[in-house]
């Protein structure tokens, strides 16, 4: 999706267009779900976090600047929602993780850091942006540990096709994720713990 299309989608979402709500969900539910799964295991809680993230985003949409990318904004809402759910569940006597260890500035042993969950978001978003055929090859290769010939047999396509899709997919991933390389300069889509996206969540949920 082009920058202009992304901005237009954000504007339509801000206006409360149902089709835009569904489109934003379709585009970002994967990364939101990935963030949720980094802090909770229960599928029902994951679903709750996903749903609440988009509802909170809609509530706060009036404070969203239409010219900005939706991703960092939604990420901040998703992460804050996940933390709230974990704190609520922990109060109920069910310890999921020690959310107090989830520092936004320092790594926590065994727990997701702010930077780490953002990396997961970015990688999930990049994977979801791949053409379906390339995404499937990467999934079989990276998640299932299958070789090119095994993937070719599984999909019923020539090995050369698998290699071609794999190469294209990894080049796309490389381009999309270059800014996450250690030592790389931050770009527009990266996020910091003190970004304005976080303040939108804190102050923008009331209606």
């Amino acid at each position: 999706m082009s920058d202009a299309a992304t901005i237009e989608l954000g504007e339509r979402f801000r206006r409360g267009e149902e089709a835009a709500i569904r489109e934003v969900h379709a585009r970002y539910a994967g990364p939101v779900s990935t963030v949720a799964r980094s802090v909770v295991r229960d599928p029902e809680l994951v679903s709750e976090i996903v749903q609440q993230t988009f509802v909170k985003a809609w509530r706060a949409a009036a404070t969203f600047e239409g010219q900005r990318d939706l991703a960092p904004w939604l990420y901040s809402i998703a992460r804050r929602t996940a933390i709230d759910v974990v704190r609520r569940e922990n109060r109920g006597g069910v310890t999921l993780i020690d959310i107090d260890d989830v520092s936004e500035t320092a790594p926590a042993p065994g727990g997701p850091t702010f930077e780490r969950t953002w990396e997961r978001w970015e990688i999930r978003a990049a994977v979801d942006d791949l053409p379906p055929g390339e995404r499937e090859v990467v999934k079989l290769q990276r998640l299932m540990g299958m070789t090119h010939p095994e993937i070719a047999e599984h999909l019923g396509v020539p090995v050369g096709t698998v290699k071609s899709r794999s190469a294209k997919a990894h080049k796309r991933l490389a381009a999309a994720l270059r800014h996450l390389q250690p030592g790389a300069d931050s770009k527009g889509s990266s996020i910091s713990a003190n970004s304005s996206a976080g303040s939108v969540v804190e102050g923008g949920e009331g209606r």
Partner: protein, 237 residues
């Protein structure tokens, strides 16, 4: 397996560190698909919330909504006037002045708003009461139900009588359905302690999912077994 076959053709100087990428791409959580029912639930929650929000931003003479845009302000204004009329649904149908294009594009949210209004008309402070009847699979079973729609979700208090305890390896599951094909689980129970009260929760509004059923499920099932033992409809008198 050869090295060429097992390693993707990645330019090492052009990607994340291999260790990080390998670790994250091999994590099943990264590939887990979100629940497809979430989108309907989100649209329904937003529509319902828009209908209950204050009317302060509804200005007289407001312009018609653009095609494909759900006019939440109109929905809020509608709800205010609706409370003064005999039938909420009929009132809403009269007041909505949406063109065919908007009606088509916003059908989902519109249905949510109007149906919510219809259910609201029969809600009391203690919720909506209904009775479930046993099906041929459990002819002696019945249940009294109280449905309360709150800020946390829909609470369903089920008082069951005459339903056999679920056999080992099986359980009962309650569903809110908008159609025989589309439903959302409201929770599970087994009744091995005998008849009694069960508190269930659902993340959808019965205005959108008015059919309440209870199915007998094998523990390995991922979807409804279709073995309905109780059913009823949350609807206006």
């Amino acid at each position: 397996m050869t090295a060429d076959d097992s390693r993707p053709d990645i330019p090492d100087d052009d990607l994340l560190s291999d260790a990080l990428l390998d670790d994250l791409l091999a994590d099943p959580d990264l590939w887990a698909e979100p629940d497809p029912a979430d989108a309907d639930a989100i649209v329904a929650m937003i529509a319902a919330e828009a209908a209950t929000a204050p009317v302060a931003d509804t200005a007289a003479g407001a312009s018609e909504p653009a095609p494909g845009v759900v006019d939440f302000a109109a929905a809020r204004a509608e709800r205010t006037e609706r409370s003064e009329r005999e039938t909420a649904l009929q009132s809403a149908q009269r007041r909505w002045s949406l063109g065919p294009t908007l009606l088509s594009a916003a059908a989902g949210a519109l249905f949510a708003v109007l149906s919510w209004g219809a259910i609201q008309a029969i809600r009391t402070e203690t919720g909506t009461e209904l009775a479930l009847a046993g099906t041929d699979l459990a002819p002696t079973a019945s249940a009294d139900v109280n449905v309360v729609v709150g800020e946390l979700g829909t609470r369903i208090d089920l008082t069951v009588t005459g339903l056999e305890p679920a056999p080992d390896g099986f359980y009962y599951e309650a569903w809110l359905r908008k159609s025989p094909e589309v439903g959302v689980s409201a929770g599970t129970f087994h009744l091995r302690g005998g008849d009694g009260e069960v508190e269930l929760w659902a993340g959808v509004d019965p205005a959108d999912y008015p059919l309440l059923t209870v199915t007998l499920q094998p523990e390995a099932a991922e979807a409804s077994s279709g073995e309905v033992v109780l059913k009823g409809t949350v609807e206006a008198d």
